[in-house]
């Protein structure tokens, strides 16, 4: 037997094919199996834009990338080690991500003249030498699949749908896995149609067996388990994590969670996920539009529930007026913005961090609102809880920024015990004694929150300026100034809730690489790599976009240079300069894609050179 086994530390695999090819499913199952190997992992699905394009077209390509390792990893990976492509369009779209000498598994069966035309290939790329740099395995997966299940009498369309399990079987073989876990998963899923269940199982087995019999690859790989702490794990996308976090926060506060939502990519899954949680006490309301959805959430908060609303950039714009009302009414509200590439409709399935400005400043008048940004799919869970905690304690809307990259990407999550999550005291005002609607808590400056229905506390609130303490309508100039200041001071005080800042990399370096939101993984990766290469830089990650951490500016001022890699035209850099850190500079990328660690490393090295040469 000439197949070698090789132990490797980390690897990036991508499945790519037509939308109809089931690549998300194949990738997802491979990730699930990988998790059971106790590897650390990150995934990054990439869906075609919005609608199902014609089969075989470039616009219809769907892919799923997974990075897994025996050591902790930060990102879904810059370059792919193994690329599986199910048709020419997928090759065209995804080849650039494959590293030179990488393994390319091609479903030769789809490499037909018709499909070349759809993908815009003048000739067969398998034959024109253009793939010489790679280790190409061109295998007719279509025919092999057909052969494996010819006797089942399935329609050709249905047969083609099994290609993905065949490919999955091949990859499982390549990484020295078993197929039993996936087989039982198929058993558990395809309960209605046993023929399809059997077909999928057979194809999976056949794909796996192909390695055993045909030995199509010279080497099989094994990625050892990583040293994750003991405990229960699950794989979680950002959207799932936000949903779970909010439900937990509600339960910890003894509040019902009310989600008002209107579907929009890439935020809709939060509605879908929470809609399934009614047994946990969650109410979901698909409203007629974004305005109604935030309005309903605010109404629920007014009634004493935890109101939540979710959208993406354009829909968040529509919520601005109601956010202003929430600021004035001083009621808890959590607003999730799952950012996508803009402006306007932009590129709805692509990622971007360009709604920071809108989150900070997109309201009329002086309407300060705390803004948190989640750093990874799992971090979405903690961020959601913190957002709810602040919203409830300070009676304020809180904005959480996530993005398409976090929303759909996943990573293993060490499931916490609910007991280890601190309770949240909604601190409802229940006694008429000394009650006044805008009489603030001297510590937090929060106003009382009354659960409607409490006798003796009847009162009226609204969007007009209110008199300090009494909450009555007031046009008094001094009162207005006082109230504007009080609201600002209250929100500014939120920073007292934050934990300490944690520098990483080389804290004594002259240069600080500052990240925020979903780019944490890539930036962490880049800082580590630079330090490892002997280029000392420090790293720092910001979750609290507003108000800023009290220590942030002092820390920034300790460094000669502070660079902020961000997926926009430099919004956080702008904010930091405005707050007094005039030496901050952004490293921008705005391509609808996430940072690659390698690109970041290069950018930082180059910028360091520029600075040294003083230009």
């Amino acid at each position: 037997m000439s197949v070698q086994e090789k132990i490797i530390e980390k690897v990036v695999v991508r499945f790519a094919g037509d939308s109809g090819d089931g690549m998300q499913l194949a990738g997802g199952r491979f990730a699930a199996d990988t998790a059971l190997q106790r590897c650390d992992l990150r995934t990054m699905p990439d869906f075609p834009a919005e609608i199902r394009a014609p089969a075989g077209s470039l616009a219809g390509v769907s892919s799923f990338q997974i990075h897994f390792a025996s050591s902790p990893i930060d990102t879904p990976g810059d370059f792919v080690d193994v690329l599986v492509v199910m048709n020419p369009a997928a090759l065209k779209m995804d080849l650039s991500s494959l590293r030179k000498t990488g393994i390319l598994i091609v479903n030769k069966g789809q490499f037909t003249a018709k499909n070349f035309a759809k993908a815009g290939y003048p000739s067969n790329p398998l034959e024109d030498g253009s793939l010489d740099a790679y280790e190409v395995h061109a295998i007719d997966i279509s025919v092999l699949t057909e052969n494996s299940i010819a006797d089942l009498g399935l329609a050709p369309r249905t047969v083609a749908r099994c290609n993905n399990f065949f490919a999955l079987g091949m990859v499982l073989w390549l990484y020295n896995r078993e197929i039993d876990v996936t087989l039982s998963w198929i058993d558990s899923q395809f309960t209605k149609d046993t023929t399809i269940r059997d077909a999928n199982k057979r194809c999976l087995a056949a794909g796996f067996a192909l390695g055993e019999t045909a030995e199509w690859a010279q080497t099989r790989f094994r990625v050892p388990a990583s040293h994750l702490p003991e405990g229960i794990y699950r794989s979680l996308t950002g959207n799932q994590a936000l949903s779970l976090g909010l439900v937990v926060a509600g339960r910890k506060a003894g509040l019902d969670v009310f989600l008002g939502a209107y579907p929009i990519t890439p935020a809709s899954d939060i509605l879908h996920t929470m809609a399934k949680m009614s047994a946990a006490g969650v109410i979901t309301f698909q409203a007629e539009d974004e305005i109604a959805s935030i309005a309903a959430a605010l109404g629920a908060s007014y009634g004493g529930a935890l109101g939540v609303t979710v959208s993406s950039g354009p829909g968040i714009s529509l919520k601005a007026e109601a956010m202003g009302l929430a600021v004035m009414a001083e009621l808890p509200l959590v607003i999730l913005n799952i950012q996508r590439a803009g402006p306007s409709t932009g590129m709805p399935t692509k990622t971007e961090q360009a709604d920071l400005f809108q989150a900070l400043h997109g309201r009329s008048g002086e309407a300060p609102v705390p803004v948190l940004a989640a750093a990874s799919p799992a971090d979405c869970f903690d961020t959601a809880i913190e957002a709810a905690r602040i919203a409830i304690k300070y009676r304020t809307p809180v904005i959480v920024l996530s993005d398409a990259f976090l929303a759909n990407g996943s990573e293993p999550w060490h499931v916490p015990s609910p007991d280890h999550i601190a309770p949240i005291d909604p601190h409802f005002c229940t006694s008429p004694e000394g009650f006044a609607p805008y009489k603030r808590d001297p510590g937090s400056l929060a106003r009382p929150w009354v659960r409607l229905g409490t006798p003796g506390l009847e009162h009226r609130i609204g969007g007009l300026e209110k008199a300090d303490i009494t909450g009555e309508i007031s046009y008094d100039p001094d009162n207005h100034e006082r109230m504007v200041m009080l609201r600002a001071e209250k929100i500014n005080g939120v920073k007292r809730e934050y934990g300490p800042l944690e520098l990483y990399g080389d804290p004594d370096a002259k240069t600080l690489i500052l990240g925020w939101g979903s780019t944490r993984g890539a930036i962490h990766g880049a800082v580590s790599e630079l330090c490892a290469k002997g280029t000392p830089v420090a790293g720092l990650h910001v979750r609290h976009m507003f108000p800023l951490h009290a220590e942030l500016l002092p820390v920034l001022n300790r460094f000669e240079s502070v660079w902020v890699p961000e997926l926009n035209l430099g919004q956080f850099g702008y904010v930091l300069r405005a707050h007094g850190a005039s030496h901050v500079r952004s490293l921008c990328q705005i391509r609808g894609l996430h940072f690659r660690v390698t690109d970041l490393v290069q950018r930082i090295e180059q910028t360091l050179r520029e600075v040294q040469h003083g230009n």
Binding site: G231, I232, A279, A295, G303, L452, E458, H459
Partner: protein
């Protein structure tokens, strides 16, 4: 304050300065609303008034109850969220023709189609009062205002037919100053399970004075209004000589005996077909007053509630939720 105590109008008076123009029809409505709540004997703390923006939307400030004066056009969805989260409360929406039919038209109709159990009091003065007199979606063609110096060219909405077309389970109409019938309508709305839409013809004596005089004028009102009584024929006129009968897919209005036959007069039925409610709501002369439609249908909030665990202990375990169906453990496989 329990529901038992004998309540008076004053119990629902917030005791603050009321700031409408002297002579505004809103005063009369406020007073009837307060009196109605008192006579219903409801618990003050369970009455929640949600309004948008407009003169009419100031009403919550004057009610000794819970109140939220929100933003323009959005009272209905705010009330919806509130009612879904707190089905135990009575939720009233106070809105104007601009608030609910212009900027809020979508919300208004969506709330109606869902049949959320809230009561919508639509103060229709056919003008934007608070912004000092521009046409509203109910202003008649030709109305001259600051924004339409040449006369409006918009065709007005008829709020109740529109509500009926959206699936309203309860619609009624009343006049600001007719306290008795307004109160009756409010009581019926309160009793109704589902969205109740009450159009109140309200005089804005500053920017649209007398716009309803041709309907509500003391001398003519009996000739220009028909009071609906369930099960009773549609008869009106100072001498009860006029009647309304079916005529094709519409209604015929005329003198009983000559124009319309007494035997063929339409009997009012609040639960009649949508077509009948639509026709009655559309009548322009006479205008139908009282409860036009009231039909029983499941409410949105009751269906939401039915799907929820209402006691804390019935809620699914957090632990199970966090683990999901696909967790694994480092140490031993638990479940895949």
């Amino acid at each position: 304050m329990g529901t038992d105590a004998k309540l008076s109008k004053k119990d629902f008076d917030a005791g603050v300065d009321v700031r409408w123009c002297p002579g505004c029809g809103d005063y009369a409505i406020l007073s009837t609303v307060q009196r109605t709540l008192a006579s219903l004997g409801v618990a003050r703390e369970k009455q929640i008034f949600i309004s948008g923006i407009g003169c009419s939307s100031r009403l919550p400030y004057y009610m000794n109850a819970y109140g939220f004066h929100t933003i323009h056009g959005r009272a209905a969805p705010i009330a919806t969220g509130l009612k879904l989260a707190r089905p135990d409360l009575d939720v009233w929406v106070i809105t104007g023709d601009g608030d609910s039919l212009s900027i809020g038209a979508g919300h208004f109709l969506h709330t109606i189609r869902r049949n959320v159990n809230i009561k919508i009091l639509l103060f229709n003065n056919r003008i934007y009062g608070l912004t000092k007199g521009q046409t509203s979606p109910t202003s008649g063609r030709g109305t001259r205002t600051k924004s339409t110096p040449g006369g409006s060219i918009d065709n007005p909405f008829a709020p109740l037919p529109l509500a009926i077309a959206a699936g309203a389970t309860f619609v009624a109409r009343a006049v600001d100053t007719e306290a008795k019938s307004l109160q009756e309508v409010l009581m019926a709305a309160y009793a109704h399970q589902g969205t109740a839409v009450i159009e109140i013809l309200q005089n804005c004596n500053v920017f649209n004075d007398g716009v309803f005089d041709h309907i509500t004028g003391r001398e003519i009102k009996h000739d220009k209004q028909v009071q609906l009584v369930n099960g009773k024929p549609l008869i009106y006129g100072s001498d009860a000589s006029m009647g309304i009968a079916m005529d094709g897919l519409g209604l015929r209005v005329g003198k009983i005996g000559s124009d319309v036959q007494a035997a063929l007069l339409l009997l009012h039925d609040q639960a009649a077909s949508v077509g009948q409610a639509f026709a009655i709501a559309q009548l322009e002369e006479p205008v139908a007053m009282g409860v036009i439609r009231a039909v029983a249908q499941p409410t949105y909030d009751s269906e939401v509630t039915a799907r929820r665990p209402l006691r804390e202990e019935d809620k699914s375990s957090l632990e199970a939720l966090l683990r999901g169906n696909d967790s694994w453990s480092i140490g031993a496989r638990i479940k895949i």
